[in-house]
Symmetry: C2
Subunit: 215 residues, 2 copies
């Protein structure tokens, strides 16, 4: 049941939050990190600047909340087929990261910049409260793929001696390392190879080579 009175007058906080985050998303993708301005977000979302700054004191705080919203739009399915579920999830992560590379920039071919993800990594390192927010975001989000791995271990598919965290570090780590450090591409084929490779290492019973020598 909804109380009609709540729909009248000033919008409820969650309405304002939603409008702010959607305005922030559009502005970020139009402008990129450098030219992303809080005042413009407030104007587009039709909220008072004080409302915006009370909720998110800097653009980095707001962008962390936006990343949380974007991450939450990627489902983490548990179909019982661990390989497939990991490939689907990590392909979506890679697509999201690749999309963030070109945000607000002309996106020239061969552009290997990590884009806005690198800016948020630096903001997290610079400001302890932004860092706390980023780490909380990833802890919350990573709980979903970690649970996938835990359930596969309960089904006897993964070795008991190898932790889900270690397995997930190898998977997500490889994608972020390519994005942030080496600039190598992270495409769908790479994600499949990576998942196959990591699952050989994590399997409860020795598995045959998923990619035998190509002759």
């Amino acid at each position: 049941m909804t109380a009609p009175a709540a729909r009248r007058g000033r919008p409820r906080n969650e309405d304002a939050d939603g409008r702010i985050l959607e305005a922030a998303r559009k502005l970020l993708f139009e402008r990129g990190y450098d030219r992303f301005a809080m005042d413009e977000v407030a104007a587009r979302a039709q909220v008072a600047k004080t409302t915006l700054y009370r909720r998110w004191p800097t653009k980095d705080h707001l962008l962390v909340a936006l990343v949380a919203r974007i991450q939450d739009e990627v489902p983490v399915a548990d179909t019982g087929d661990l390989r497939r579920d990991l490939v689907v999830y990590l392909t979506a992560v890679a697509t999201g990261l690749n999309g963030m590379r070109a945000v607000g920039r002309p996106g020239a071919p061969g552009d290997r910049s990590a884009g806005v993800v690198a800016e948020l990594v630096a903001a997290a390192a610079r400001h302890p409260d932004v860092g706390d927010a980023v780490r909380a975001l990833f802890a919350r989000r990573n709980a979903l793929p970690l649970a996938l791995l835990d359930r596969a271990r309960e089904r006897g598919e993964l070795r008991t001696g190898c932790s889900s965290e270690l397995v997930f570090d190898q998977l997500a780590g490889a994608l972020y390392y390519r994005l942030l450090v080496t600039g190598e591409p992270i495409g769908a084929e790479y994600v499949e190879e990576l998942v196959d490779q990591v699952l050989v290492g994590a399997a409860a019973t020795p598995r045959p080579d998923p990619r035998p020598e190509r002759t």
Copy 2:
């Protein structure tokens, strides 16, 4: 043979480079990224500012050269024992990354910031020429551990279907992911677990669980 004349008068370029890089190293560790100033480097290295800026136009360019110098101080041994060589090398990498976390900051206990590494990642994303320099740096440096993995494959220890790049992405990726994203610690025990886990996945013949269930 050295020509005595070359020792007199203005120092040769490599002397100036060395003095600049050593001054940069000291200043970075004293001050951190934010308060690292090029003019101060020139003064301490006793070189003209024009000399410094001609060689490295911004502090990010200079810091990439400094990271190259620091990386080159870490040897990559090839003793024929792949597991040991990887553990030694990656422990040194982790120690270096942990050291960079606290550079120029009070280093409070529980501080999980990625520090100056995150700043360089952001600079690489922001400025195409810094990005090119960082990627060239890692391509050059990573050639050494990649060669270790290639030689182990030639000895029949690693599967032919799994590329050295993919194996190394899992190793280095996990360390950088913890440093830059989740803020989890990267200690010596973690490095050993990681190497064991990745080598199970990469082994030519199915290997037993290196870490059976602890009861």
